[in-house]
């Protein structure tokens, strides 16, 4: 049974979004997604400063099995990426909601986050 924290928002394409106190968003992939992908061996995050449209493929996670795109849940600008994933991509498997975060985003409109799924909505979407 995968873990889907109630305090986060979710996209159908398996990203989670956490609002940070400074108004930026922390983004990663869900526990369900990492389990389906299998052991991750390479993560290519978007460049800092890149402007992303909502639902734009902007990040690639590669597992032992395959490469998969990760999409921007909302529009905005990349402000930071998780440097630890270069040496330790398995952080995404081990702690998808903590040490395995992918990138931080300054959203164009913070209110866009409200349009995403809540935990129950996401659980229903993968059922």
């Amino acid at each position: 049974m995968s873990n889907t924290p109630a305090e986060l928002k979710y996209a159908k394409s398996h990203e989670w979004v956490k609002k940070l106190p400074d108004g930026t968003l922390l983004i990663g992939i869900t526990d369900h997604a990492q389990a389906a992908l299998g052991d991750l061996v390479f993560v290519e995050t978007p460049k800092v400063g890149r402007k992303l449209a909502a639902n734009e493929a902007c990040c690639v996670v590669e597992s032992v099995k395959a490469a998969s795109d990760v999409y921007a849940p909302v529009a905005g600008t990349v402000t930071e990426t998780n440097a630890k994933l270069g040496e330790n991509p398995e952080l995404v498997n081990d702690a998808p909601y903590e040490g395995g975060w992918l990138w931080k985003l300054q959203p164009d409109k913070l209110a866009d986050v409200d349009g995403l799924l809540d935990a129950d909505g996401y659980i229903a979407s993968i059922a």
Partner: protein, 370 residues
Amino acid sequence: MLKATALHAEHLRLGAKLVDFAGWDMPIQYASQLDEHHAVRKSAGMFDVAHMSAVDLQGARTREFLRLLLANDVAKLKTPGKAPADAVGVGKALYSCMLDEHGGVIDDLIVYFIAEDAFRLVVNAGTTDKDLAWLRAKAPAFGVDVGHRSDLGILAVQGPEARAKVDALLPAELARACAGLTPFSAAWLGDRFVGRTGYTGEDGYELILPQADLVAIWTDLLAAGVAPCGLGARDTLRLEAGMNLYGQDMDETVSPLECGLAWTVSFADEGRAFIGRAALEAQRAAPPRKSIGLVLEGRGVLRAHMAVRAVNGELGETSSGGYAPTMKGSIAMARVPGSAVGPYEVEIRGQWLPTREVKPPFVRHGKVLV
């Protein structure tokens, strides 16, 4: 409806993730594919390969039949089978391609020498029906009987500790024979057959046993600390070992000279007109294509069917590629024109990335060789 091996319920019990492999419902991984890979390199792992087939050939002219059907020469198999007074038999094995008249690979297989009138083949799952049809079409002229041993199942136990773990579970006289087996040979007692062969680049066995015995030995090996491993780990292990996968690195459109298997083709006996020989002779001096090994210089993961570009502009494609857990990097096998000259670049998501050309195997017996 997918076919299930005798170990299917064991895989479910262990929480394996199952996939359709050539019409069989097979485990791709149990928990972590990387952990399974490392278990085989460092200690011991086991693979349900009961979807593959044992095919027994019987008849006084079986050797002559196989000298026609196989590109490698079973005349090399000299260690006699069963000594008359001994219940345990021992015989040598040989890896070979079975070719069509155009030199295309129908299948790759292992042939075991049991007795002058009895040889055993182990063939791939996805090719079993095709192989049986081919063999049975050619066999009557030699009076050879082709028996698909679907009553037997195959379990591969691989890794530096694999043989000791298996030997401890075998009847004493068979265990003694197994302890003395040289690589690429087999020992057997009745229907219990132990080949010192494998598909991982590590020492180990491939056990061919009555279907009814598979669950018991699987359970005993599990209790002895042998890690259950899925087809995912089997693929990364064989790729590191530089071993071809049928249907991916070669098929009927490729000759063994074009997929790195020239070493398995025996031209030595000029009078041996094996099927496909004429086609191979025509390309022998300069095969139109060749297989190369590649190591990705930077970060990223090579996969099958990526474009490959030689420094002299020739283009090809990766046939297999992936993450190599023992090397903590990415490797591939690629097919390029025979005239291609390295170094080679591979295109990943629109970018041409540099690689280093190497001669497989990449890893053998736990050690990185390239």
